[in-house]
C-alpha cells in the first residue's frame, strides 16, 4: 500500500449517547481517491468531518482514539491550523454572496496574503485547477450566486484549493447537481487526484466505483471493508459489502 496520509486507530465517535463510529482503524493513502460509501446514517459524513474537525461545532460531539495526519495527532490539534491543510467541499454549493474573485481570495486573505498580484495569481491558479477559469475569467467581479449550480460547486472547489491544502474532503459534492455538471466534477476529481489526496463521501455507488482508487464501506458506524476499488467490486470479503454492492440495501 502507498504511504498513508491519515493513520486512524480505534476511532470512536459519540453524539451524546449515540455511538456514531465504532472502533474505526484504517490508513488513507496519499494522492489517491478514497470513496466513502454506505447506506444513509452509517456514519460516512461523520467520518469525513472527523478528518477536519468540523464535528467540533456540534456541542454533544466527542471522540476517542487517534487520527494522525502525516504523523501529527489531529484530535489534539488546533482545528484552525488543521483546516488550512484540509480543504472541504460541501453537499450543497455554498459560495459566499461575494464576487467570484472574493470567494477564491477569502482563504488566502484570512491567512495573511495581502499582495494584490499574489492574490490575482492565486485566483487564476485555483480557478484553472477547478476547471472554471475559462468560463469566468471575464467576470471575476460578478457575484458568485449568479453562477449555475455546477459552476458554483467548482468555485467552491477552487476556494478550497486556494489555501493549498494537502487533502480535499468532498461531502457528496454532486448530489445537488445535474448529470452534466456531475460529470464535469468527476473528471475534475480524477485530475486533482494527481496532486491531492481526495476523500469523497458519496451516495452514488456507481460514482464511487467510477472515480475511486479505494473504497471504504461503512455500515451502522462500523468500517466493514476497506480495499482497492477493484478488489471490493470483484471480490468483497464481507456479506454486507456484497449485499450493498448488489443493491440489497441502500
Amino acid at each position: 500500500m502507498i504511504e498513508p496520509i491519515f493513520k486512524i486507530e480505534k476511532l470512536n465517535v459519540f453524539y451524546g449517547e449515540k455511538h456514531a463510529l465504532k472502533e474505526v482503524t484504517c490508513d488513507i493513502p496519499q494522492r489517491k481517491v478514497t470513496a466513502v460509501v454506505g447506506p444513509s446514517g452509517c456514519g460516512k459524513s461523520t467520518f469525513l468531518r472527523v478528518l477536519n474537525r468540523m464535528n467540533d461545532l456540534i456541542p454533544s460531539y466527542r471522540h476517542t482514539g487517534s487520527v494522525k495526519l502525516l504523523g501529527d495527532e489531529i484530535l489534539d490539534m488546533d482545528p484552525v491550523l488543521l483546516r488550512k491543510h484540509i480543504g472541504m467541499v460541501f453537499q450543497k454549493p455554498n459560495p459566499f454572496p461575494k464576487t467570484i474573485q472574493e470567494n477564491v481570495t477569502y482563504g488566502p486573505k484570512i491567512h495573511g496574503i495581502k499582495n494584490r498580484q499574489a492574490l490575482r495569481e492565486i485566483t487564476e491558479k485555483s480557478l484553472r485547477q477547478a476547471a472554471l477559469w475559462d468560463e469566468v475569467k471575464d467576470e471575476l467581479k460578478k457575484n458568485a450566486t449568479n453562477l449555475s449550480g455546477g459552476q458554483q460547486q467548482r468555485l467552491c472547489i477552487a476556494r478550497a484549493l486556494s489555501v493549498e491544502p494537502d487533502v480535499l474532503l468532498l461531502d457528496e459534492p454532486t448530489s445537488a447537481l445535474d448529470p452534466i455538471a456531475t460529470q464535469k466534477i468527476e473528471t475534475l476529481i480524477e485530475e486533482l487526484s494527481e496532486k491531492y489526496t481526495i476523500v469523497i463521501v458519496t451516495h452514488n455507488l456507481q460514482q464511487a466505483l467510477r472515480i475511486s482508487d479505494y473504497v471504504m464501506f461503512f455500515y451502522v458506524g462500523e468500517l466493514v471493508e476497506f480495499d482497492t476499488t477493484e478488489k471490493i467490486t470483484s471480490n468483497p470479503k464481507d456479506q454486507r459489502t456484497s449485499d450493498y454492492l448488489r443493491g440489497i440495501f441502500s
Binding site: 461545532l57 491550523l81 483546516r83 472541504m88 460541501f90 459560495p95 477569502y106 484570512i110 476556494r159
Partner: protein, 291 residues
C-alpha cells in the same frame, strides 16, 4: 363545510382583518393630523419648529418645540450609544460563543428584562440612579433627573430588543456559510466579521429601526426621570423634556380645542414623522444593501 367554503371563509377573514388594520392606521393618521394642523392657525410654522420657547400656560403663551425635539434626540441618541454596542456584543456572544446552558439562561434574563414595566424603571431611576449620579459627579450634576439617567433606564428597556433581534439575524445566516469559512481555516472571529455580520446586516439594521422607534416613542421613563426642563441641553447631565413627556404631562390638563391642545396633537404628528422618516430611510438602505 366543504373545503372550498373553508378556503373562501379564511380568505375573507384575512382580507377583512387586513383592511381593518389599514382603516384604523389611516384613521389615526387622519385625526391626529387634522387636529394637529389647526395649531398653525395661531402659530406660524417657523415659531412652532424653530423657537425653543415652550410656555403653553403663560399669559402670552409660546409654543416652540425645538427644545422638546432636541430633548427627544438627545435622549434617543445617548440611549442608542449605550444600548447598541452592548446589545450587539451580547447578541454575538449568544449566537456564537455561549454554551447551550448559558445561552438559555441569558435569554431568559433578557426576556424578563423586556417585561419590566417602564414605570418601574422610571421609579428606580427616580429613587436610585438620580442619587448615584449626584454622588458620582457632584461637580457636574445639578439634578439627578437628566438625560443620562433617562438614557440608562431606556437602555435597559431597549437592550433586550437589540439582543434578541440581532441574535435572530445572525442565526438566520445559513450554517453552510459559517462552515465554508471555518473549513478554510478561518477562526470564529474572522468568520463573524467577514461572513456572518455582512450577511446579517439587513436583519441587524431592522433590529436597530425597531429598537429606535421603541426608544423615541417611550414615554413613562422620560416623563419621570428626564428632568422635564424645556431647554436645549448642553451636556448629558442636563434635564430635558422630550416630545412624548410633553404630551403625556400636559394632555390631561389642557383646555379642549385650545391652541395648546392642538399644539400637543401636532407634537404627536412630529413623533409620527420622526418614526416614519427613520423607517423609510432604513428601508431604502436595506434595499441598497441587497444589491
Amino acid at each position: 363545510m366543504s373545503r372550498k367554503r373553508i378556503d373562501l371563509f379564511s380568505r375573507v377573514l384575512v382580507t377583512v382583518a387586513a383592511l381593518l388594520t389599514m382603516v384604523i392606521l389611516f384613521g389615526i393618521f387622519f385625526f391626529l393630523i387634522s387636529d394637529g394642523v389647526k395649531v398653525f392657525g395661531k402659530i406660524s410654522l417657523k415659531d412652532f419648529f424653530l423657537s425653543t420657547r415652550w410656555y403653553p400656560t403663560y399669559e402670552d403663551a409660546e409654543f416652540g418645540i425645538l427644545a422638546l425635539l432636541s430633548g427627544t434626540l438627545a435622549v434617543t441618541g445617548l440611549t442608542l450609544l449605550i444600548s447598541i454596542p452592548l446589545g450587539f456584543i451580547s447578541a454575538i456572544f449568544l449566537a456564537e460563543f455561549s454554551s447551550r446552558k448559558t445561552h438559555d439562561f441569558l435569554k431568559y434574563v433578557f426576556e424578563l428584562t423586556a417585561g419590566i414595566p417602564s414605570v418601574v424603571l422610571g421609579s428606580f431611576g427616580l429613587k436610585y440612579i438620580s442619587r448615584w449620579l449626584m454622588e458620582l459627579f457632584p461637580m457636574k450634576v445639578w439634578t439627578g433627573l437628566n438625560i443620562l439617567n433617562a438614557s440608562l433606564m431606556l437602555s435597559v428597556l431597549a437592550m433586550p430588543y437589540f439582543v434578541t433581534l440581532i441574535e435572530d439575524a445572525l442565526k438566520a445566516v445559513p450554517v453552510d456559510q459559517k462552515e465554508a469559512s471555518l473549513a478554510l481555516g478561518a477562526n470564529m472571529t474572522s468568520t463573524l466579521f467577514r461572513v456572518l455580520i455582512p450577511q446579517a446586516r439587513s436583519g441587524i439594521l431592522n433590529a436597530i429601526i425597531l429598537g429606535t422607534n421603541r426608544i423615541v416613542g417611550e414615554t413613562m421613563v422620560v416623563l419621570m426621570i428626564a428632568g422635564g426642563a424645556t431647554m436645549i441641553p448642553q451636556s448629558i447631565f442636563d434635564p430635558v423634556r422630550p416630545l412624548t413627556a410633553a404630551i403625556a404631562g400636559e394632555m390631561g390638563e389642557v383646555e379642549l380645542a385650545s391652541t395648546h391642545y392642538f399644539a400637543l396633537f401636532m407634537i404627536g404628528v412630529v413623533l409620527l414623522m420622526i418614526s416614519l422618516i427613520f423607517t423609510v430611510t432604513a428601508m431604502r438602505l436595506k434595499r441598497g444593501m441587497r444589491r
